[in-house]
């Protein structure tokens, strides 16, 4: 998995609360059997018109935001389905960090398996970051995961929350499956033997 250490880039403001996974990547893109290539479907219903042309009002179609690598969004980002296609689409488009006051649980979890940083900030700081993001390409943000800081264009610093194990995983690009298979195999074997006795009907 790709590591996440620091990131400097344009931040696109998406001033909508409860952005759900159907908005992030609508169902017609879920028929793929691959993890890649989903960037074209990102926010498709807001991003494209009915005839398939770009909707000029959508933030990622505005000059200066096409190359955004950071998204600043309203409360409860990623609610709805468990589709990992949502973080896959964001990453495939080039977004490596989403900043909000809160995230839905499953989406939040999925981010960490894809090198995508969901940064949680206070409401007050989010408003500040919306202001920065609204200045477009002239106002890049720098995300420093180690320091848990977002540095704005005018020297302002916003702290964000993340729990230590998830931070460690992103910083090092760790693969959970390899760790579990190699380090936990004996514990899993022992557990299976125990339940075979305790709950034989399973």
């Amino acid at each position: 998995m790709q590591k996440f250490t620091t990131l400097t880039g344009v931040a696109a403001p998406l001033e909508i609360i409860n952005v759900d996974t159907d908005m992030i990547i609508p169902k017609q893109y879920l028929k793929t059997i691959k993890r890649t290539g989903l960037g074209t479907g990102l926010f498709s219903e807001m991003r494209y018109n009915e005839d398939g042309s770009d909707n000029p009002d959508f933030v990622l179609n505005k000059p200066g935001y096409k190359a955004a690598t950071i998204l600043v969004a309203g409360d409860n980002f990623g609610c709805g389905s468990s589709r990992e296609h949502a973080p896959w689409a964001l990453v495939d488009y080039g977004i490596r960090c989403v900043i909000s006051t809160s995230f839905a649980d499953i989406f939040y979890n999925n981010c960490f398996n894809n090198g995508l940083l969901p940064a949680i900030v206070s409401r007050e700081d989010l408003d500040k970051l919306f202001d920065d993001a609204n200045r477009g390409a002239n106002a890049t943000l720098t995300i420093d995961l180690e320091a848990q800081e977002i540095r704005g264009p005018d020297g302002g610093v916003v702290k964000f929350e993340i729990d230590p194990q998830r931070k460690h995983k992103l910083l090092n690009g760790l693969d959970d499956i390899g760790e579990t298979v190699h380090a936990r195999g004996p514990a899993i074997d022992a557990y299976e033997q125990r339940i075979a006795g305790n709950r034989p009907w399973l």
Partner: protein, 467 residues
């Protein structure tokens, strides 16, 4: 030992190991797999040369993508056909039991788990689908996971988890006539909001929950995720055991009795701590209709479309204005004045036999309104078969409903069943998000009985005084 919640007990029973970083490795007893969120996981196993650790604890079925039209004809969508064939191939390659679209046991993954007795009390159940919370109705800790986690479970039969907080949702009293499990859960989501349960596991308790059938309990737990909670739980009781007795994958004979002795211990202890508590009186609940684009946007059928200008929080006010614009509704409109074009009966929320019976009772001897296209998609092949044995299909077809093959269908509209732009649908499904049932489609979430009455009248009606 300190008093424990049902969640605490199931959690403790499944901790395999505690990692250095403080997270737990949780054992997974049952893994349900479907075609949309699994191909990349199986591919990951292949690339790293891994096997499925416990194929006998894994069950695969196609549901999201399958057409609900005549299955003897080829799938009209090549991408969908590829995804379905990929699951069939993966199941063969990795030795996992698989129900194809031609198998009578095929159906929506959260309907077939309980139906087969694969879902059992006290187990941990995961699936790459957020409505896995449905299985919590059996006192199982069940929740949705992403595809990377699907791969982790396939490879190791475990999941890395941090314990959630406990929330109690106490629903006292008895439901009035015309008010159902669907109305209970919609009311709860309306109360706590779509992020109200984030970070929590919800346990539903109280007289109204105990009085629900297993089907009704599944409807309630199913939509826990719409309130932000990954999992919902209901303690098992005699109804649970009766539902499971004799199911193909449930324990049989003496093993069943032994299991029941254990299942009887799966109750929240007196005095156990909940981090938050919500109370609701079922006796005061009306039939509920959603008016917006979030499951928290709900109102009594006797009410009117709310006015967003009354909301003080700016971000929320803007979002509710956006919802009304999307839905093509004006604040102050009576809910019963909202006309509909489509009706969808089905989904993991309301696609079970009891739901189809409720619809049949409402529409027997009546006709679907001339301006409405109404479809019924049974939750599984076995639900369809049972409905046909009971003559429900004949009642519905005579009333003008389209009687279809089982699958997820227009709940998420991945297959050809979908709304045209601006079409308005009374739906028994679980999400009214923008575009959910089709690009620019408009969804109103309701109970099966409410959807049935709306199909007949062409607009919403208060079923408490209808008929």
């Amino acid at each position: 030992m300190a008093p424990r919640t049902l969640y605490d007990k199931i959690w403790n029973d499944h901790v395999v190991d505690t990692r250095e970083d403080g997270a737990s490795l949780l054992y997974i007893d049952r893994h349900l797999v479907h075609e949309v969120t699994s191909p990349q996981a199986f591919e990951g196993l292949r690339v790293s040369g891994r096997k499925v650790r416990a194929p006998q604890k894994t069950l695969a079925v196609v549901d999201h993508n399958v057409p609900t039209s005549d299955r003897s004809k080829p799938n009209p969508d090549p991408e969908s056909a590829t995804q379905i064939e990929t699951l069939a191939q993966n199941a063969r390659d990795f030795g996992v039991e698989y129900y194809s679209e031609h198998d009578v046991r095929q159906g929506v993954v959260h309907i077939i788990g309980p139906e087969q007795g694969f879902t059992l009390p006290g187990t941990t159940i995961v699936c790459g689908d957020s409505h896995t919370s449905t299985h919590g109705a059996f006192g199982a800790l069940a929740h949705g996971i992403g595809t990377s986690e699907v791969e982790h479970v396939l490879a190791t039969q475990t999941l890395i988890q941090k314990k959630a907080r406990n929330m109690l949702v106490q629903v006292d009293g008895s439901l009035p006539a015309g008010v159902t499990a669907k109305d209970i859960i919609l009311a709860i989501i309306g109360e706590i909001g779509t992020a109200g349960g984030t970070g929590h596991v919800m346990e539903y308790a109280g007289q109204a929950i105990r009085e629900l059938s297993m089907e009704g309990r599944m409807t309630v737990c199913n939509m826990s995720i719409e309130g932000g909670a990954r999992a919902g739980l209901i303690a098992p009781d005699e109804k649970t055991y009766e539902y499971l007795r004799g199911r193909p994958k449930a324990p049989q004979g003496a093993a069943f009795d032994e299991a029941v002795r254990f299942w009887d211990t799966l109750r929240t202890d007196e005095g156990a701590h909940f981090d938050s508590v919500i109370r609701l009186d079922a006796a005061n609940l009306p039939p509920i209709v959603s008016w917006g684009t979030s499951p928290e946007d709900v109102i009594s059928v006797a009410g009117v479309v709310p006015d967003p200008d009354q909301i003080t929080d700016e971000a929320k006010r803007i979002s509710k204005h956006r919802a009304l614009e999307y839905m093509g509704l004006k604040a102050g409109t009576k809910i019963t004045d909202i006309g509909i074009d489509r009706v969808f009966i089905g989904s993991c929320t309301n696609g079970r036999i009891e739901d189809l019976r409720a619809v049949a009772r409402m529409v027997e001897g009546r006709k679907v309104h001339a301006s409405v296209n109404a479809m019924v998609v049974p939750g599984s092949g076995l639900v369809k078969q049972q409905a046909e044995q009971e003559g429900i299909d004949k009642i519905l077809i005579a009333a003008g409903f389209d009687w279809r093959e089982p699958g997820c269908s227009m709940c998420l509209a991945m297959n050809p069943d979908r709304l045209a732009p601006h079409e308005r649908c009374a739906s028994t499904s679980n999400r009214n998000f923008e575009g959910r049932q089709g690009f620019k489609g408009r969804t109103h979430l309701v109970s099966p009985a409410m959807a049935a009455a709306a199909a007949i009248e062409g607009h919403f009606v208060d079923i408490r005084n209808w008929g």
